[in-house]
């Protein structure tokens, strides 16, 4: 089954896909920005400050999603001894890290008008900061070690340790008394957010997901060319 995912076979698709993904990303982003900044209503309590939600929430969701995917892929790579899983994980990490930083910074900017402070050592914010540290460690390991086997082992270990933090981030607002508000969107029950705000939020999430796909494809292609460069040296 894994033969279908061999780099030689999928490069033809991944090398052409970025230009279409970039076009789609720009279109969805423009629609999302118009919805988020102009068309969506202001909040009765937070007024226009609520618009920060349209960049903060999708960034946090996607950074959590990417870290979970990286962990799953790293474990698969280890179990099935398939290098391609590690290559995909490595290519996903930079966009996950940037989304994590965006979530932290925009959350801090949102905190000033709503809580009166840029930063608080609150459970949700601190656990998101810890996730950023795990992302940083994961990326550093790929940079400092040359021995692939060692990188695979250490990076998988980091992701397994880091994944423990993901449910802590999710449930921190329920388990502890925090400044951060509880989740407004629930998959299993009715969301407490109005559809006029929900649609722009989903459009911005789609735009952010397309951006992470774009970066992933570009990074994955770069990694494949790096491997081919080493192959030419051996000829």
């Amino acid at each position: 089954m894994f033969k279908l995912f061999e780099p030689n076979k999928i490069f033809k698709i991944t090398s052409k896909a970025p230009r279409y993904v970039l076009f789609l990303f720009i279109v969805v982003l423009i629609i999302g920005l118009v919805e988020a900044l102009i068309l969506s209503p202001e909040d009765y309590k937070q007024s226009d400050a609520v618009r920060i939600m349209y960049v903060h929430v999708p960034a946090a969701w996607i950074s959590l999603g990417i870290f979970s995917s990286i962990t799953f892929l790293s474990i698969c790579g280890f179990v099935f001894r398939n290098k391609n899983f590690f290559l995909i994980s490595k290519s996903l990490a930079p966009s996950g890290f940037v989304f994590n930083i965006v979530a932290l910074v925009t959350g801090s900017i949102w905190g000033k008008p709503t809580w009166g402070t840029w930063w608080a050592w609150d459970a949700r914010i601190t656990s998101m900061l810890i996730l950023a540290l795990f992302y940083a460690m994961y990326l550093i390991v790929w940079r400092i070690y040359d021995n692939e086997e060692k990188v695979f082992k250490i990076s998988t270990f980091i992701t397994i340790l880091g994944i423990i933090n993901v449910p802590i981030i999710k449930y921190s607002v329920d388990w502890w008394n925090t400044l951060h508000q509880p989740a407004s969107i629930n998959i299993l029950s009715k969301s407490s957010i109005h559809s006029s705000m929900l649609y722009p939020l989903f459009i911005m999430t789609a735009a952010f997901a397309l951006f992470s796909l774009l970066i992933f494809l570009m990074k994955y292609n770069t990694e494949l060319i790096k491997i081919k460069n080493k192959g030419l040296d051996r000829l």
């Binding site: 033809k12 920060i52 940037v98 925009t106 008008p113």
Partner: protein, 75 residues
């Protein structure tokens, strides 16, 4: 209307700085990733140019190498 849009009830500085930071981060990451890609692609093309006819023929037998060369920005 325009004033309302830009002032955002006094929250414009927070809202616009959050959106600007996000978009600038995206732009930065895109440019860095693009630069790394082009650098590796150029390196590949340069290395390919130094191969002997026999080596080039062997390297070209792999579809992925042909794809990289076809998509390269320099020749």
């Amino acid at each position: 209307m325009i004033n309302e849009l830009f002032l955002m009830n006094g929250y414009a500085v927070y809202v616009l700085s959050a959106f600007s930071f996000t978009l600038l981060s995206f732009l930065g990451l895109y440019l860095i990733t693009k630069m790394q890609f082009v650098k590796e692609q150029n390196k590949f093309v340069a290395k390919f140019g130094t191969l002997t006819t026999e080596q080039a023929k062997s390297a070209k037998s792999q579809r992925i190498n042909k794809e990289i060369l076809a998509n390269a920005t320099i020749n």
